[in-house]
């Protein structure tokens, strides 16, 4: 039991990591803990648009653990170019440290979920990655392009970066967002 408590107190630190999206109506940045909660519910809510083979329970489990390595590494915006191999190696080291606080079986289970998410080579991980990639787009569309403008991210960079994973995991979601993104471009919600 003490191992489980030590783990749950360790992951408490994810509430202190900052992403680039601000919580609408507040000045502070969103953190990966509340983000993980939100995408778990986005995935569940989108179930009707997932491939029939998708086990939604595993999708949710993946989404709940996928950002835990950021306790050690911090969050890196998806639009940063280069260095991803090193960052992912650092995140792997981090999750091994953090999951390693748990009894062996539970630790192995979480690590397998984290690795499946990163691999993106199962229907579940493709769907999970699509939802994770789509969430900041949905929030930016509702928040006047806040993190795109603050970080100078153009329409073209957004589409190039998010389209492949969203389309691969949830075509209907991409079809919806593609139209919204074009409208946002017309309104000037992007950086340059």
């Amino acid at each position: 039991m003490q191992q489980i408590i030590d783990f749950i107190l360790e992951i408490d630190k994810l509430k202190k990591v900052t992403r680039k999206i601000r919580v609408r109506g507040l000045d502070r940045f969103e953190n990966p803990a509340e983000h993980s909660w939100q995408i778990a519910l986005l995935a569940t809510s989108l179930a009707q648009y997932a491939e029939s083979a998708v086990d939604m329970n595993r999708v949710i489990a993946m989404l709940l653990v996928h950002d835990i390595g950021e306790i050690d590494t911090g969050d890196t915006m998806a639009f940063v170019e280069g260095g991803w191999e090193e960052r992912k190696a650092a995140e792997l080291k981090a999750v091994k440290r953090i999951f390693g606080k748990l009894p062996q079986k539970q630790s192995d289970d979480y690590l397998a979920l984290w690795q499946e998410f990163e691999s993106g080579d199962t229907p579940e991980s493709r769907f999970a990655n699509a939802v994770d990639r789509a969430m900041p787009v949905i929030l930016n569309l509702a928040n006047n392009g806040q993190s795109w403008r603050e970080n100078g991210i153009s329409y073209e960079r957004v589409v190039k970066r998010v389209r492949p994973q969203i389309e691969a995991g949830c075509q209907a979601l991409w079809d919806y967002l593609e139209i919204q993104l074009k409208e946002a471009q017309e309104k000037g919600l992007f950086g340059s």
Copy 2:
């Protein structure tokens, strides 16, 4: 699809609701979104201590939606006496409004999960309630009794309020916390 997006933007507001626990190392209060993420992982991590009949996927689904009504009602500390019937009626009204943004089937599914959590009359909801009740205790034990001291909550009130639900849902967790709470009392971590 637009209904799902409207729902996910509505529940974004849960990130702005404040609980009474401060995030360790920060001045701000925890919100129910990140709390829901944390207890979903606490439940998963405690699986070996759950009754064998417990469907952990339903526990997690319940925990992800159980606080959504607080978007309209705000969070009320568990130690507040009286008025719970009115507060729960207000929360029910709130979740009906919020889940009602979704297509009917998804809305019905979430409402059923919310009601099962509130009922506490299935193994899953008892386990989910135990985990929800235990989390602020675990955080207070690690944070020098912060919300107990700030709100003048005594050792006796904590035990009286949290013991029944934690014991009913996860005996091993209560056995662990009982010892920790007694040690915390000796250290003077409670209010009066």
